[in-house]
């Protein structure tokens, strides 16, 4: 990417950070600032130059700023105040409101803004009202929460806000931020289509608001919706698309997008974290772990996304590292759902499931929509043999995000534990729909089909074949395929799969009982097919291992030898007969 591109990016981002902060959209501002810092190092050298550029852009950039201050002043003021279309008095009121807003006194802020007409003031008023409602809702949730955190608390401001915003929208008085807020409210009012349209309009006219993109992403529950969106081309769109692909479990595509973005923003933590998540989703744990370590090195007090890191550590059973991570997160911020999740993971790894559940519950208390906590809690309940609770937890996860394949998978597993393979199939099917290229899902389905209750072997074989085609790393499928074929008396196919399985195990240097079984079967098979030499090779390999297999192999070898001898004598007899 040309440095000019980076330059404009820098300018845009700087402006965006200020504008977003001015409107109290801190998360988006944080994001923009992160990307700003993460921009290509080389271009950030000439700071004066860039500042000048910056000013120029501001003058030309339509929405804001009749620059009356010197650049220096502006630098001091930092972020505040770009719009000055209002009178001084209004300006003061706005300052007051912002101060209230920053101290989280939203209602006061909204009140202080009453009667002000500027766009920023209007937006801030709406936003403050909305947040006041949200705050109230959260307090209500604490009061009203049911046993598992569900509650009927709603943001009471939504209806009136929607009314006002829609009337403003009709007279096209809404700017991009207003449209964003309107979109958010529409989404909460379950008007998803309109919300999509509104958010699209918002990001098209002001692409730098990452929160708007995130809202849009949450609305794109399947690829079709994404394709139907009317989005202008912008580099922010690339971020969105990459993130969306990850969300839709199209991980490799997402990864590719992030890699190209990385060239532009080499220092961006966001990209780093997302890349790590992509690797995690692709089950490339080593890569993911490396990236997370890198991320923590750069940003040691980061908590965002660290729960994923803890998952990796969990899978890799790194007790020490996980405990360290948990300790560090507690020191950084104790009451974050991510922190609680990390601790929960740690306890889970230590097989202290009650404690783990306690922490997951705490995580959910902090954020009832924290998806992975529900799923992980489900896992814990399964471990504790509390199947109804597990099912409930998984189901909540699924209802929060129907694309959470882990929860679907967990539901399937739980029902399988209950010896209801047929019922479980539905859930596995949902999981496979979400991850058609994940061998584990196919294996799980295959196991259901071949369970002694169902015994639908054809379907099981089809599933395992899919698993094999999708690079089944754990190697369950090949072995199962081979065994199924043996049971069905299809020895030729069985031999084929045993051979493949042997190859796989040799590559993995995995020499378990499976390996011995495969050798033994192949030995037997070759012997019966008359290729004695081959059979001999297999049998001698079995001799390397102990156990009853060894004796079998010895017996078989003896048999082979005797046959060979017999043949030899026959041959010699024949040759003797023919020679005279």
């Amino acid at each position: 990417m040309a440095p000019t591109g980076a330059l404009t990016h820098r300018r845009e981002l700087r402006r965006a950070v200020r504008q977003l902060r001015a409107r109290g959209l801190y998360v988006a501002a944080k994001w923009a600032a992160e990307q700003l810092v993460g921009l290509n190092e080389k271009t950030s050298g000439g700071s004066v130059e860039s500042k000048v550029d910056n000013a120029k852009v501001k003058e030309s950039g339509g929405i804001e700023l009749r620059a009356r201050r010197t650049p220096a002043e502006r630098a001091e003021a930092g972020v505040e105040v770009e719009e000055s279309e209002d009178s001084d008095q209004d300006e003061d009121a706005l300052l007051l409101a912002r101060s209230y807003f920053d101290t989280r006194e939203y209602r006061r802020a909204a009140h202080a803004l009453q009667g002000l007409s500027g766009r920023k003031a209007t937006f801030l008023r709406f936003y403050a009202t909305y947040l006041a409602g949200e705050k109230r809702k959260e307090e209500d949730v604490v009061d009203l929460a049911g046993p598992l955190g569900k509650s009927d608390a709603v943001n009471l401001e939504l209806a009136s806000l929607e009314q006002e915003l829609s009337s403003l929208h009709r007279t096209s008085m809404l700017d991009a931020f207003g449209m964003y807020l309107y979109g958010v409210i529409l989404r909460e009012r379950d008007k998803h289509a309109e919300a999509c349209v509104m958010l699209c309009a918002s990001v098209n006219s002001y692409p730098w608001n990452w929160s708007a993109w995130l809202e849009l992403q949450a609305l794109c529950t399947d690829p079709d919706i994404f394709h139907s969106l009317d989005l202008k081309d912008h580099w922010m769109r690339d971020f969105f698309v990459a993130s969306l692909f990850l969300d839709l479990q199209r991980n490799s595509e997402g990864l590719a997008r992030y890699q190209s973005l990385y060239l532009l923003f080499p220092g961006s933590d966001h990209i780093l974290a997302q890349t790590a998540v992509a690797h995690y989703n692709l089950r490339e744990f080593d890569d993911a772990e490396r990236l997370f370590e890198e991320l923590l090195r750069v940003d040691p007090y980061r908590i965002e996304g660290m729960d994923t890191y803890s998952n990796i550590l969990y899978v890799k059973e790194c007790f020490a590292a996980l405990s360290h991570l948990a300790h560090k997160s507690v020191l950084t911020e104790k009451y974050r759902s991510e922190t609680c999740c990390i601790i929960g993971n740690y306890y889970s790894l230590k097989a202290q499931h009650e404690k783990a559940v306690l922490y997951f519950k705490r995580a959910l208390r902090l954020n009832p929509k924290f998806l992975s906590a529900w799923t992980l809690m489900g896992h814990e309940f399964v471990e504790m043999k509390n199947t109804p609770a597990a099912i409930d937890a998984y189901r909540r996860a699924v209802d929060i995000n129907p694309r959470d394949y882990r929860a679907w998978y967990g539901l399937g597993q739980t029902y399988e534990i209950l010896a209801m393979p047929y019922y479980a199939l539905y859930y596995y099917r949902r999981a496979t729909q979400l991850r058609p290229h994940d061998a584990r899902m196919w294996c799980a389905m295959g196991q259901c089909y071949e369970s002694e209750q169902l015994q639908i072997y054809d379907a099981a074989i089809r599933c395992y074949k899919r698993a094999v085609n999708n690079n089944d790393r754990e190697g369950i499928a090949l072995n199962k395929l081979a065994k199924l074929h043996v049971n069905l008396g299809r020895h030729e196919q069985a031999a084929f799969y045993f051979r493949k399985n042997l190859e796989r195990m040799e590559a993995d240097q995995n020499e378990s009982q499976e390996y011995v079984d495969a050798l033994l079967f192949l030995g037997n098979y070759s012997k019966n097919n008359g290729s004695l030499d081959e059979a001999e090779i297999y049998c001698t390999r079995v001799l390397d291992y102990g156990g009853p297999a060894k004796e079998d192999a010895k017996a078989m070898l003896r048999e082979i030898r005797s046959v060979q001898q017999h043949e030899d004598t026959l041959l010699s007899m024949e040759s003797e007969r023919s020679t005279p």
Binding site: D143, E157, P388, I391, A393, A419, M420, Y422, Q453
Partner: protein
């Protein structure tokens, strides 16, 4: 607030209003300000009204203030209106937590002390204290308890809600506060003065004072504020703590009602859901789906813990045949309800926290059956059986067995794969795979009955009995060998057994109705229905679509999941079903009028409780009866009535019956094209899976053969008929094979080779006798007689004898067609008899012919009517009655013309 005061009992504005009314009821004078004393009758009615309010289940939302007022006025007329306005004036008094506190303190005095009895009441003239254990007392105590455990925030919220409640329905939200001021100073008082005029002895002065005391000081400041802000929160409350309870805009704007309209108690909501589910199960295609959907969405928002809403959603989607959504809802419902453990416990089936997974499987099975996925349904049901066994859930096991029985009926006997036990269909059911499917079914039914008897589940016992009766009705079996040995005794049916079982089942029903003993509801009725349909199908006349069969079944699994519907209803429903089964047995064993009687009994006595499937069935039966006795023209309107009552979902069933009728009609008229199309549609409605829907397929083929016969493709018809016969034989559908035999005889008769037809007719006749199919036997005899006639004049006496034998049956129980055929055959016998004497028998013969012709004309069978007229004309000719002869021949001509017209008609459009 949740969990306070018992399960989900949340103190709401409505409940506060109820408490105020209770105060007015119990101790009007002790209230501050006191209520006016009510006449005792009015107090009585008020008590009833309050009782009713605590129990109604017609909705899940509590009524708004206005609605409450309307109901009050409705129930208590003038007094109600007055009470309402007093209520209205009292609610605003509760505008701070302190006042609420005082109010609830005061409520405690309403509860009678333990020693108190109303008869020996204390001197207090008008206090009717409420017994703590009475329903109202319980309600009151729950309210007080709920208030006592309320946090301060909670009571603050309640105050806010009370304010919103009072003003919610106000037409103009912005004007609320102006209104309110006006009311306080003007309207309210005016109204109150009106009461004074009405009731006279009111002393409201004290109250006015109070009002003023409360409102007075606030008035000025309020007015001052009115000009300023728009935040209504500021204007709330009369006194100091204005800012403490800001009402959000939305709470006042009516359209956001979500929050301010609160739920009724959990019991009431559950009752509402049950009722809705019952309606859904019953009224196929009569519910406004969208409305229900919207309702459910609202409910889910308000009370996500009411998992039954998911169940309703499932039912709703099931009725709309939305497969993915149905699957989704079903799984969601059972996922959640399993986790809720005790939430809906109380039945024998779900004591432990093991959950109701087996019930989920059961529902899954019936759902698949509803959608026609037989294989899947079998899998699910088998798994249900297994899981039920594993958890010792006997009730579930019995129900699963019943469902399996139904499935076996549904799958039909022809499915080789199941019979061989290959696809796991029956492996776990406990019978060896070597037995034929029918034996398996029989064993299954017995097992089901035994289990039901053990568990004392009356519905299930009744269901199994009905199913057994139907099995006996439907299946021919060897008498001496129930074990399924090859060369057992004689083949035959057992009408006596059927009758006995039917009677038994209804005795049992009577018992359980009188004892009211049944703790389980639901299921069996529906299954009986389904099987019932099958039973009717057997007759070969109306295989009715099975779609929608399981609809009820799916719903009825609430037996286990949650007791929807009321016990007596389902028992009565079963009783109704037994009448339908009786109709079926009559149809089979030979009396069309008695079929009508049974169907009529069902339609008139059980229409309100029966499932829609049952009602539909009785409608169809009656319509078919009309067709058989009054001709097609009369049946058409009956169908229209039925179609109006059951649109959409049940249509396929009506459609099938209608198609059968259209086909018959078209064949009679000779509209071959139309007949072909109808037959084709009928065949297409059967499931494409081999071995499934055998009866429907057989029926379609049967009709195809008849079409071929009428259109003159005799060879082809005979070939297809032979194929059909062999397939029937293979599938051991003996009753159908009799029909095919008779049809073959008919084909040969039409081909004028009576000799070859005879064996078929005789075989059919014998089988009819063995199987006790009286009606069919009569028809077979007529066919046989026709064949004898075809053999030559010399056989006429024999034919006559046969006809005379079956005359009582024909005249007593036969339909139009059979009667007409018999009449014609009789006339022909007389005419072909060499000893026919014109003097003595001519009158008689002519009469027969006339009757036959008229009957055929009603049936619009122009060919045969023509024949009758032709014979008539010949007779008249011989008797040289020229005028009559001309009339007859004209009639003949008319018939021929209509026939030609019909045959030439290219009409192939099925009437809808």
């Amino acid at each position: 607030m949740a969990g306070s005061g018992g399960r989900g009992f949340v103190l709401t504005s409505h409940k506060v209003a109820m408490c105020i009314l209770m105060h007015a009821y119990a101790a009007p004078s002790s209230a501050s300000p006191p209520f006016c004393a009510l006449p005792s009758s009015a107090r009585h009615r008020l008590a009833l009204f309050l009782l009713d309010q605590t129990r109604v289940t017609d909705g899940f939302l509590e009524p708004t203030f206005e609605e409450l007022g309307e109901e009050l006025k409705e129930d208590l007329s003038d007094v109600g209106g007055m009470l309402f306005e007093q209520l209205g004036s009292r609610l605003p008094l509760l505008c701070t937590p302190e006042e609420l506190f005082q109010f609830f303190q005061g409520l405690k005095e309403l509860l009678a002390p333990a020693s108190y009895t109303s008869e020996g009441g204390r001197g207090d003239d008008e206090s009717l204290l409420i017994q703590p254990n009475s329903l109202l007392g319980q309600f009151l105590r729950r309210c007080i308890l709920a208030f006592n455990v309320l946090s301060f925030e909670g009571s603050g919220r309640l105050v806010v809600e009370l304010n919103a409640y009072r003003w919610l329905e106000s037409s103009d939200p912005r004007g609320i506060f102006e209104d309110r001021d006006g009311m306080i100073e003007g309207d309210v008082f005016d109204d109150e003065y009106e009461y004074e005029e009405d009731i006279g002895d009111l002393s409201l002065d004290g109250m006015n004072d109070l009002e003023l005391r409360f409102r007075g000081p606030a008035g000025g400041s309020r007015r001052g504020l009115q000009s300023g802000g728009t935040d209504p929160g500021r204007q709330l409350g009369g006194r100091s703590n204005v800012a403490a309870f800001p009402i959000p805009h939305a709470a006042i704007l009516g359209e956001s009602g979500v929050k301010t309209r609160s739920l009724r108690t959990v019991e009431q909501v559950e009752g509402f859901l049950k009722e809705q589910a019952g309606l859904l199960e019953k009224g196929v295609g009569r519910m406004p789906k969208e409305e229900l959907d919207a309702n459910l969405t609202q409910l889910e928002k308000l009370a996500p813990e009411m998992v039954r809403a998911h169940y309703l959603r499932y039912l709703n989607h099931l009725q709309q045949s939305d497969y993915p959504a149905t699957m989704d809802d079903l799984h969601r419902y059972f996922d959640y309800s399993a986790g809720m453990g005790g939430m809906s416990a109380g039945g024998a089936s779900c004591d432990s926290s093991v959950g109701r997974f087996q019930a989920g499987l059961l529902s899954l099975g019936s759902m698949h059956a509803h959608f026609g996925h037989v294989d899947q349904a079998m899998q699910a049901l088998n798994e249900a059986v297994r899981i039920a066994q594993q958890y010792n859930d006997d009730a579930c096991l019995a129900h699963a067995l019943a469902a399996l029985c139904h499935m076996l009926f549904d799958v039909g006997a022809g499915n080789e794969t199941y019979a061989k036990g290959e696809s796991a269909g029956l492996r776990d059911v406990g019978t060896g795979p070597s037995l034929g499917i029918q034996q398996q079914l029989l064993l299954l039914l017995r097992r089901c009955l035994r289990r039901a008897l053990e568990l004392k589940l009356p519905q299930l016992v009744a269901f199994s009995r009905l199913a057994l009766a139907k099995f006996d009705l439907k299946h021919v079996r060897r008498f001496s060998s129930l074990g399924g040995l090859e060369n057992g005794g004689q083949l035959g049916t057992s009408p006596l057994e059927v009758c006995k079982t039917l009677r038994l089942s209804s005795y049992l029903l009577g018992d359980s109705i009188s004892n009211g003993m049944s703790p389980h509801t639901g299921m069996s009725g529906n299954h009986a229905t389904m099987n019932q349909q099958r039973g009717n199908n057997m007759n070969g006349n109306q295989p009715l679509t099975a779609a929608g069969n399981m609809a009820g079944g799916g719903g009825a699994w609430t037996t286990l999941t949650g007791r929807l519907g009321r016990t007596s209803d389902t028992v009565v429903k079963l009783a109704g079903t037994s009448h339908l089964l009786r109709a079926a047995s009559w149809e089979l064993y030979g009396s069309v009028p008695l079929v009508r009687v049974s169907a009529l009994i069902h339609a008139t006595c059980y229409a309100d409780v029966a499932s829609s499937d049952d009602v539909l069935l009785s409608y169809v039966k009656l319509a078919q009866h009309l067709a058989a006795f009054r001709g097609y023209a009369a049946a058409q309107p009956a169908f229209e009535v039925a179609a109006k009552r059951f649109p959409a979902a049940a249509n396929s069933w009506i459609r099938t019956a209608q198609l059968q009728l259209i086909h018959d009609h078209a064949l009679h008229r000779g509209e071959l094209k139309l007949a072909q199309v109808a037959c084709g549609e009928l065949a297409a409605s059967a499931s494409p899976v081999i071995g499934v829907d055998m009866e429907r397929k057989t029926e379609a083929t049967f009709r195809h053969i008849r079409t071929l016969l009428v259109s003159g493709h005799l060879d082809e018809a005979a070939a297809v008929a032979r194929l059909l016969f062999s397939s029937c034989y293979k599938a051991s559908m003996q009753l159908e094979s009799v029909l095919v035999l008779l049809l073959l005889a008919d084909i040969h008769k039409t081909a004028d080779s009576a000799v070859t037809g005879l064996p078929y007719a005789l075989a059919g006749l014998t089988l009819c006798q063995v199987f006790s199919l009286d009606w069919l036997q009569a028809s077979a005899k007529v066919t046989l007689a026709e064949l004898w006639l075809g053999l030559g004049v010399g056989h006429a006496p024999r034919a006559l004898l046969l006809l005379q034998q079956c005359l009582p049956m024909v005249l007593g129980h036969g339909g139009l067609e059979l009667r007409a055929r018999t009449n014609l055959a009789l006339a022909r016998c007389y005419l072909s008899d060499p000893s026919f004497s014109a003097e003595t028998q001519m009158e008689n013969t002519l009469d027969l012919l006339q009757q036959a012709a008229e009957e055929f004309e009603i049936l619009e069978d122009f060919a045969l009517a023509g024949e009758a007229y032709y014979l008539q004309a010949l007779c008249f000719d011989r008797w040289s009655c020229v005028e009559e002869r001309n009339i007859a021949s004209k009639a003949f001509q008319r018939c021929m013309q209509s026939l030609n017209l019909a045959q030439a008609s290219e009409n192939a459009i099925l009437p809808l």
